[in-house]
């Protein structure tokens, strides 16, 4: 088990080393990066928006219940929703979900190409397949996922409003005041750092799983599941690491 882990880690690092090399042809990589940006970004808008709205709504409802004792001012709900989404829920939950959507997709795309000998065919043309197939995905993800995450944060805050204000848990001015109170710009930085780190993890782990697929359709399915499971675990670990590193 430990040796196996070491083997995968070593092979992952080697793959990353090959991935970061000079493109054969800039225009081909550019085209592929644009395509990936579109796939990841536009393709994930709906699911990210939907999740974000519920995250904000649930946070608002739960906290207004817990804070109903009267010791703490009501407008704190807006403040809590804002910070908890920016710091934790928007980046983490969005990326966990994207690992399931984008990550598994990447793993099965690469795995399919491996099984149908597309990767071999490209290698034989002289293409650095690790770079051509992974780098555009990675660049696209690291640029686009932070944008999705900031969108998620904004939508969450709106979600909190929708869940709390119309039902009288607090008034419109209270929520807005909360959202505008005690703002720490550093938390936004933290959100972006998390989003980029998570994007890197989910892309590279998923591509690694797909790139080395062997066997048939069962193995392909396994690779795509493993892409999600390992991405999720590593995202949670990284979440803690980034939190410790940026708060200390």
């Amino acid at each position: 088990m430990n040796l196996n882990l070491l083997f995968h880690f070593g092979r992952y690092l080697t793959l990353m080393k090959t991935t970061f090399s000079k493109p054969e042809k800039f225009s081909m990589y550019w085209k592929e990066t644009m395509r990936q940006m579109n796939d990841i970004g536009i393709g994930s808008l709906v699911i990210v928006g939907l999740i974000a709205i519920f995250i904000g709504a649930v946070t608002a409802v739960q906290f207004s219940d817990q804070l109903s004792g009267g010791l703490i001012p009501r407008y704190y709900i807006g403040y809590i929703v804002r910070d908890i989404t920016i710091i934790e829920l928007a980046p983490t939950i969005t990326c966990l979900v994207l690992a399931g959507k984008v990550g598994s997709n990447m793993a099965s795309e690469l795995g399919g190409m491996r099984q149908k000998e597309h990767i071999d065919a490209m290698e034989l043309m002289g293409v650095n397949t690790a770079a051509y197939l992974i780098l555009p995905k990675l660049i696209a993800a690291v640029l686009i996922i932070p944008l999705l995450v900031s969108l998620a944060a904004i939508i969450s805050i709106v979600g909190g409003y929708i869940a709390a204000v119309p039902f009288g848990q607090l008034t419109d001015p209270e929520y807005v005041r909360g959202v505008r109170s005690f703002f720490v710009p550093n938390y936004v930085l933290m959100m972006y750092v998390k989003a980029m780190v998570f994007a890197f993890i989910l892309t590279t782990v998923s591509c690694y799983q797909g790139y080395y697929v062997t066997g048939g359709s069962i193995e392909l399915g396994e690779a795509s599941t493993q892409a999600v499971v390992y991405s999720d675990i590593l995202i949670l670990v990284a979440d803690l690491v980034v939190a410790i590193a940026l708060t200390g």
Partner: protein, 253 residues
């Protein structure tokens, strides 16, 4: 010229290739024959570096192929064309985009030049006009021909074809064989073909290697095939009961 020197290849416990030594000559169509499972595809993949030999050396002219670093390997590979047994066409690209892919990746040709080159290659495999079809929309034989067009689009020095005419009707087979042979001679390419089609062997087998159970059972030229007394070879050629009867009749004659 490509030379295999005492090549061994095992997958885990199973030894697939045992002590293969042979030379594939430049400007000739070199044919590897053998029964299904004899190790033809494995040998071809070893020759292009998709597998590493367990032991032995492969020489491209005077370059030791197994000693190349990644960069040297990539530049050598731009001179290599390969047709896979399963075609390996990129299924999200059209026929034209498939054939154009190596040009897009490695050349600075203009759009027009690329299109001309693609159309020239498609024309050679008698597929002119299929530019905008997707691989899933054309027949297996057509896919094979697109694969050939893609493998010759960069004017390779070395051409590898894994069963170029399996799944093709006899007429198209002959056209493909002739095409590969013509390209080989015109451009002085070192061409290596895997096949179990005796027609192609006798038509274009400038040199022939017969693999049996992972060993070289016989090698020679197409002119030597009929004269040879080699049992494995005779057994391979006269495989069907019909041909055996024919042979017996001929021997009794």
């Amino acid at each position: 010229m490509i030379r295999a020197e005492n090549i061994f290849k095992s997958f885990g416990e199973t030894e697939v290739l045992k002590d293969i030594s042979t030379t594939f000559e430049q400007g000739k169509t070199n044919v590897i024959i053998g029964k299904s499972g004899a190790g033809k595809t494995v040998l071809l993949k070893l020759l292009v570096g998709l597998f590493q030999p367990t032991a032995g050396n492969i020489w491209y002219d005077d370059i030791n192929f197994n000693k190349l670093n990644k960069q040297e390997l990539r530049s050598l590979r731009m001179e290599v064309g390969m047709l896979f047994q399963g075609n390996a066409l990129f299924d999200s690209l059209t026929v034209e985009q498939n054939v154009r892919f190596p040009l897009d990746m490695f050349t600075n040709m203009t759009k027009k030049e690329k299109l001309d080159q693609v159309n020239y290659c498609l024309d050679r495999v008698t597929l002119a006009g299929s530019n905008d079809k997707y691989p899933s929309e054309i027949s297996g034989g057509m896919q094979k021909r697109v694969g050939i067009a893609r493998s010759i689009v960069l004017n390779p020095k070395y051409l590898f074809c894994d069963e170029p005419n399996s799944g093709l009707d006899p007429k198209t087979s002959i056209i493909i064989d002739k095409l590969i042979h013509d390209i080989t001679v015109e451009n002085n390419i070192t061409t290596i073909i895997n096949t179990h089609d005796m027609n192609s062997v006798m038509e274009i087998g400038d040199t022939i290697v017969l693999l049996n159970l992972g060993r070289v059972a016989w090698q020679g030229t197409k002119n030597e095939v009929l004269e040879s007394e080699n049992e494995v070879l005779q057994d391979f050629i006269f495989a069907s009961p019909f041909l055996q009867k024919l042979r017996k009749a001929a021997l009794n004659f």
